[in-house]
Symmetry: C2
Subunit: 439 residues, 2 copies
C-alpha cells in the first residue's frame, strides 16, 4: 500500500491547538507507522504570535496570515480550533471555499450553524469532521455514525460537561456548596475564568444538538433544546437525594418515541446503581440504547488538551484516508431525505420529580402539601422527613413523585408557593430513570 | 448522493445468523435511509434446512449449496457465521477466492488463522471485517482501528466473556459455588451445553489476540497467550477478596512497556472502585489507555443474537461504503512493517497476589508462612484472619502481597505446600491494579 501524505494547517493555537501541534510534531512518525498517513503541519495561524505555548514550533510555521493557508494549494485540511461562532464561522467558510476539508472541535459553531456549514462543504465537495466537538477523545461520533449504524437509537443519556461533573462530584463527595466547588474547579483548571457556558448548560446542549442529530438522523435546532444549568443546586438537596438512593448529574437526554423526539439538558437525580452515576470528576460518559445492540456506554476524559487533540488527529487520519468523506456523504443523505424531528415541548415531557419544601412548624402542612399535589394529579412515591426543627422554625420535607407531566408539576409548585405553610420557594429536581438492561 | 446497493450471502444460519437475517429483513429500509446502503440478502447457506429459526426467510433463500453463492457474481459479501476453525476456514478462503469480501464474527478462526486469511484477502484484493468477533455490538474494533488511532495504546483491560462474567457475578452476589452458578448460566442461555471454551478462558484469549494485534500493531500468536480459566475459583476466596475491597473478574490484559508487550488471560481481583469492577452479568467492557486520550471505557452486551448482529450489519455497511477496505489497508501496512511483538513470558510478569492457606491449628504457622514468602523476596501488603477454627481444625489465613514476579510466587507456593503447617494446596489469585486516571 502507498503511504498517504497530507499537509494540514492549524488555525487557532490555544490549548487544544497546542495539543494537536504536539501530537503531530512528537508522534508524527509513530502515527505514520500505525495508519499509513504522514501528516505534515504546514502552518499554524494565530493572531497572537508571542504568547508562550507548551509546544515549540519549528521556525516559520506560526503566522497571523490566514491567506497564507488559503492560497497554498498543497494544504488539504484546515483545522479550526478558534472556538466561538463569529471568526470561526468565517474561517470555516473560507477554508471550504478554498477547497480545504475542515476538521474542528467547535461544538458551539456546529450546533448553531452546522446545517449552513454542511451545505457549504457539500457545495465545495469537501467534508467537515468534528469528533473533537463532543466528549474529548471518546470516539462517540464515529460510533453513532458508523459502528452502531445497524441500530435505530432509542435513547441517549450523556454526561457531556467535565466542569459541571467535577463540581457536582465534589458537592456530592465533600458536601461543598456550589461556589466553593466552582472555585476548586477553576483552581484545578477544569473551569474557565468565565464558566457561564459550562454551568448554565449551554455547552452540554451544543453537544446534545450534535449527537442528537447523528443519533436520530435529523436536524436539531439548537435553540429548541430546553436547558437548565447547575447553579441553583443546593448541597442539602444533593444530600437528601443520596439518602434516597440518587446521585445528581447534569444530563443531556435524547429519547425517541415513534417519530417524536425529546431532547433536553438539566440537572437530574439518577439511581446510584446506574453506570452513569459512577462517572465522577472531569470524566464524560454517554449511554446509548440501540434496538439491536441494547445498552452501550462510552466513557473517557471529556475535554482537555491531549484528549481533544486525540480526536482531532484521529479525524485528520480519517479525512486523509477518505473515511470522513464517506461518513459525511451519509449525513448528507439523511439530512436531505428526512424531515425535521418533531421536538417534544418541555411542558409535555413526563418525569418523576424530587421536591423539597421548608415546612413551617405548624399543623396542616402535610394535608396542604399532599392536597395540592393530589389536585394536580401528582402521586407521591417516597418521602423523607427528619425529626427536629431548624433554627428558623422550619423543617425540610422531601418527597419523590411518580411520573407526571412537567406542566402539572409547574402548576403545583406555583400553588404551593402561595400557601402559608411553607417558607421560601420549593426546590424541585427531575428524577430520570435510565432504562435497565441488566441480565 | 447515489444510493449504494449490495447483495450479500449469509453462511451459517444459527443464533447470530438468525439475528443478521432478522435485521436485514425487518430493518432493511430503515438502514437504507440511515446509511444510503441497500443491503439485499441474496442467499442463506446452512447444512440444516429444516431446524426452526426465530426468523422467517422468503422462499428460495435457504440453501445447503455454497456454490450457489460462490458462482453468483452479483453477491459481493459473504457473511461467515459458521464458527469454529475447520469448515469456516475453508469457507472464508473460498469466498475470498471467489472475489467476495468477508464479514465474520468468528474470533477463534481469526485468532488462530488470521494472518493466513489476511494474506489471502490481500491477494484477492478483498477485505475481512470482524467487528462482531469481540464484545458483541460494542464498536471496540472500530475505536481501536480508527477513533483512537492518534494514540499509542499503553494498556488494555477487558471483560470479554459474558458467560464467565455472569457466573462470577452470581458467585459474588449470591455466594453461589461455581457449579451452581454455571447451571444457572446454562438455564438462562448464557452458557453453551459445553461451556469449555468459555470457562477455560480460550474464548477470552481469542478476543485478546484480535484486540491486542490492533491495539499494539503487531501479530499476536494466539498460542503464546498464557490463559487460566475460572473453574478453580472457590466462593470463599471471592468472599475474602470482597472483605479486602476486591471484586473478581476474568480479565484479558494487554500491557506495553517500550517494545515489550505482555498479554494474558486469568481470573483477577480488581479494586471494587475500578469502573470494570461494576460490570456485572452478561455484559462486556474494555478499558483502553492511550497516551493522548487517557483512560477510556467501552461497555455493552458482549454476545447474543441481536448485539452481535448489530456489529455484523454495521460491518456490511462499512464494506459497502468502502470504509472497511481503508481500515484493512492500514492493518496490512502495520503487519508488513512491524516485527512480531516481544511477548513477555508469564514467569517474568510482575503482579500482586492474593493467597489463602488453610493453616493447621498449631504454633509456628505465621513464622513458617512469613519466612517462606520473605525468602522468595515477597512482601505482604495486607492480611485477614478471622478468629475461630473450622471443623477440620484448620483456619483460613489470607494475605495480599506487594508486586512480585510470578516465578517467585510459584516457587514460594511450592515450598509452602511441602510444609506441615498447612492443609491442602494454597489458593492463589492475581491482583491487578488498573491504573487510575481520575481527577
Amino acid at each position: 500500500m502507498q503511504e498517504r501524505r497530507v499537509r494540514v494547517a492549524l488555525i487557532g493555537f490555544g490549548t487544544v491547538g497546542s495539543g494537536v501541534a504536539r501530537l503531530l510534531l512528537e508522534q508524527g512518525s509513530a502515527i505514520r507507522e500505525r495508519t499509513g498517513v504522514a501528516i505534515e503541519l504546514a502552518a499554524v495561524v494565530d493572531t497572537d504570535a508571542t504568547r508562550p505555548r507548551p509546544v515549540a514550533l519549528p521556525p516559520g510555521l506560526l503566522t497571523s496570515d490566514l491567506d497564507r493557508v488559503l492560497n497554498d494549494e498543497s494544504i488539504e485540511i484546515g483545522i479550526e480550533l478558534i472556538g466561538g461562532t463569529t471568526v470561526a464561522r468565517q474561517v470555516q467558510h473560507r477554508l471550504l471555499e478554498a477547497g480545504k476539508h475542515v476538521v474542528t472541535a467547535n461544538k458551539a459553531l456546529l450546533a448553531e450553524y452546522g446545517p449552513e456549514l454542511y451545505v457549504a462543504a457539500r457545495k465545495a465537495d469537501r467534508c467537515i469532521a468534528f469528533e473533537g466537538s463532543c466528549a474529548g477523545g471518546v470516539p462517540i461520533i464515529l460510533a453513532l455514525r458508523s459502528g452502531l449504524t445497524a441500530n435505530r437509537i432509542r435513547a441517549m443519556y450523556g454526561i457531556l460537561n467535565g466542569t459541571c461533573n467535577y463540581i457536582l462530584s465534589n458537592m456530592t463527595a465533600r458536601n461543598e456548596d456550589f461556589h466553593t466547588a466552582l472555585k476548586e474547579a477553576q483552581k484545578k483548571g477544569y473551569a474557565e475564568a468565565d464558566p457561564t457556558l459550562d454551568i448554565d448548560g449551554s455547552d452540554t446542549a451544543h453537544k446534545l444538538a450534535i449527537l442528537g442529530s447523528l443519533a436520530f438522523g435529523c436536524e436539531i435546532p439548537y435553540d429548541a433544546i430546553p436547558v437548565e444549568g447547575i447553579e441553583g443546586i443546593a448541597v442539602e438537596d444533593i444530600r437528601y437525594g443520596l439518602e434516597m438512593g440518587y446521585v445528581i448529574k447534569l444530563l443531556a437526554i435524547g429519547e425517541r418515541e415513534d417519530s417524536r423526539i425529546s431532547l433536553r439538558v438539566h440537572p437530574a437525580f439518577i439511581h446510584r446503581d446506574t453506570p452513569l452515576a459512577r462517572v465522577n470528576g472531569p470524566f464524560n460518559a454517554i449511554s446509548v440504547f440501540g434496538d439491536a445492540v441494547g445498552n452501550t456506554l462510552f466513557y473517557g476524559r471529556g475535554a482537555g488538551m491531549m484528549p481533544t487533540a486525540s480526536a482531532v488527529v484521529g479525524d485528520l487520519v480519517q479525512v486523509a484516508t477518505g473515511i470522513s468523506q464517506r461518513l459525511f456523504e451519509t449525513q448528507r443523505l439523511t439530512s436531505v431525505e428526512q424531515t425535521r424531528c418533531l421536538l417534544e415541548d418541555i411542558g409535555g415531557i413526563t418525569s418523576r420529580f424530587y421536591v423539597r419544601i421548608m415546612a413551617k412548624d405548624k399543623p396542616g402542612v402535610v394535608a396542604t402539601y399532599g392536597g395540592i399535589l393530589g389536585k394536580h394529579g401528582i402521586s407521591i412515591s417516597g418521602a423523607l422527613q427528619h425529626e427536629g426543627v431548624g433554627p428558623d422554625s422550619t423543617v425540610p420535607v422531601v418527597i419523590t413523585t411518580h411520573p407526571t407531566q412537567q406542566a402539572n408539576m409547574t402548576a403545583a409548585l406555583e400553588e404551593l408557593s402561595r400557601t402559608d405553610v411553607i417558607s421560601g420557594e420549593p426546590a424541585c429536581i427531575r428524577i430520570v430513570d435510565i432504562p435497565e438492561d441488566q441480565d
